[in-house]
Symmetry: C2
Subunit: 393 residues, 2 copies
């Protein structure tokens, strides 16, 4: 295993975390434990970087798996060692928080294909001694979930109390419920869809083309060439970022306000605050994210279509499920609109599943699932409490 060479901040073995050290634990899977991929290949060896919070109880019934979104990571509730900022869901997950780590054992692993310590295109391909780049097989949401299940196995957990996630994380939640129905007591998919829409594929394709148009991408082999497609990746991030916000939120936050000036500049510098904001989003993103991982993870989202494996019937995908579901959508989310979430609810109803549905009224768009939304938090807390009670906790 030479993966450590490119992943400095991760620990070499499962469960080996120093006290107060923010770096992740890493689960290593060797040649005898390959990850079977939907692409028809196997990946071995591979590794998953992960974080846990709280304590697993004696009968291992209080474990909650959190699934992160496209550019997220395993640092749900601890300071992010790369950015130094608070964990991305630290308002929702933690001691005394809606998902209370004094009651529950919370796990989050960096998805396969990403770049925060789990095996991805920037990892070393043991067959060549070079980074995989595009030689890594295309990864699917089901592959991510399959890898997570191997981690949950290794942690000795049979059935998860709940699987929770938003956006691409919500896709993983749905996939968990379909792939391992008996292992998911409750599922909380947030701001997601059962398949990527044509518009979502379109925006992802714009981002990928922006990355691949950058000559520093070098056919994906930029690490070997000692460069990075920073400009292309920044443009991809800017385009995506617009889709995470609602028109109303943009108008409220930025409107046509000018940046550091009294009047229009009559040039192509950032005149408007929204321009500066987007440029900043693009520039800071490239410091923390790998361009090829961006290609792989957007591809995984585009390929996601749960019903496709069941003759186009989402209800069939969920037939005989015992999992308790709660879906959450946000009224101004136009990337995964309420209608997409409601389609899942309808399918679950058709499958006679236990399902509740909450639409949170907010103007903050898709990003709302990462923000301090009291109604969302209280719905999550209520749902998790009720399923914990149902499981005898």
């Amino acid at each position: 295993m030479t993966i450590e060479a490119t992943q400095k901040s991760v620990m070499p073995a499962l469960g080996n975390r120093e006290a107060n050290h923010p770096s992740s634990m890493v689960a290593m899977f060797g040649a005898d434990e390959p990850l079977v991929l939907d692409a028809g290949l196997s990946l071995a060896p591979f590794q998953l970087a992960y974080q846990t919070y709280g304590e697993l109880n004696a009968d291992k019934s209080n474990a909650i798996l959190v699934c992160h979104a496209l550019t997220g990571d395993q640092h749900v509730a601890n300071a992010n060692p790369v950015t130094g900022r608070a964990g991305w869901w630290s308002a929702l997950v933690g001691e005394g928080k809606p998902i209370d780590t004094s009651k529950y054992f919370v796990i989050c692993s960096n998805v396969i294909g990403s770049c925060m310590g789990s095996t991805g295109p920037a990892s070393i391909n043991p067959a060549t001694g070079e980074p995989y780049a595009l030689d890594l097989p295309v990864i699917t949401i089901r592959d991510m979930v399959r890898a997570q299940a191997m981690l949950v196995d290794r942690l000795g957990i049979d059935t998860l109390l709940a699987v929770i996630g938003g956006s691409m994380g919500g896709m993983q939640v749905l996939q968990w419920a379909v792939s391992y129905p008996e292992r998911v007591f409750a599922a909380l998919p947030i701001a997601t869809g059962a398949r990527h829409s044509s518009q979502n594929i379109a925006f992802d394709e714009v981002g990928r083309q922006a990355v691949m148009a950058d000559p520093d991408w070098r056919g994906g082999r930029y690490i070997a060439h000692g460069c990075r497609p920073h400009k292309g990746l920044a443009v991809a991030r800017m385009a995506a970022h617009v889709t995470y916000l609602s028109e109303a939120a943009l108008q409220r936050k930025f409107g046509r306000e000018l940046q550091d000036r009294e009047a229009l500049g009559f040039g192509f510098d950032a005149d408007f605050q929204i321009e500066s904001y987007l440029r900043h989003q693009g520039m800071t993103f490239v410091d923390r994210f790998d361009a090829n991982s961006y290609l792989y993870l957007t591809r995984a989202m585009d390929y996601f279509d749960i019903a496709a494996d069941f003759g186009g019937s989402l209800a069939t995908a969920f037939r005989n499920t015992k999992t308790r579901f709660c879906l959450v959508s946000f009224s101004s989310d136009w990337l995964f609109p309420t209608s997409e979430n409601r389609a899942i609810v309808h399918a679950l109803n058709a499958a006679a599943a236990s399902v509740s549905f909450v639409e949170i009224v907010t103007d903050r768009g898709h990003d709302a699932f990462l923000l301090d939304e009291p109604e969302f938090f209280s719905a999550s807390e209520g749902f998790i409490s009720s399923v914990a009670k149902a499981r005898g906790l």
Copy 2:
């Protein structure tokens, strides 16, 4: 004047059009007729390429000015000499069409800053003998309209029967009504807004950054370097194109249909039809459009904010107007949603103007204004007929 060197298909002088030749007429404005720009500078010499259709009547009361959108041109109703395709509004404008050129004299000029024969950043700067590139001052919608007014002057027309246009063309219509209220008998702004929203600025900025991220952009001086930022401009076009369509139209036209294959390819080629479609849109666009013009015209749209010159009051901008207005919006247009159009209607009502408003129900998004939309056509025909009658035609 050395501009002709870069604009091969245009004619050298006003009104000098060969029979059956699709090339445009060109109005030349010399050093004694500078275009006064909002940037605080003057542009001289400059030229406007334009087309006319039909005959101007004896009292010059039947002239209709058509204003084109961002990537449009003067070829409203004749075969486009660059692409060979039908004129962009040939379904609306022509003999026997809703805007009937057997009754009306229709004019359309390529906007200043564009690249279809009018002076723009690709034109030769007489001071240097090189293309202007970014030395051309930033152009505004008001500058475009000011130049059009000089053309209308030269054609000997005092008051236009109507000014018509969609999207950026609609901005010009509104600006005409504000800048030259006595010269606009009727105005038909379509699928537009009185100012660019924060979200629209954001998408434009993504496009500009995509162009400027391309190393072949060369700080704008790509013509002198013998290259073109094709990749960056293609990405910009792809991003913009998604915003021209509605989510419903994309789902209906493309859905998750695969392109020339039975199953997912597990790679980064175009798997989905929507990907092929967008790539095609990007690739064909770069053959017909200048990258710097794209920067200038998106900037002009971003700067547009009619109310800003009137203390933020749109109603004040239109005070005492005698122009008859008809506004048209499309229900699924999320770039210039009905609410933006309705805000203009409200301001016109507050200004006691004559105004009617039609929202066309369609799932085709912003692009609907360029498509065969029977209700839109009949509304346009009805409005133009009524104002022609009111003017005694």
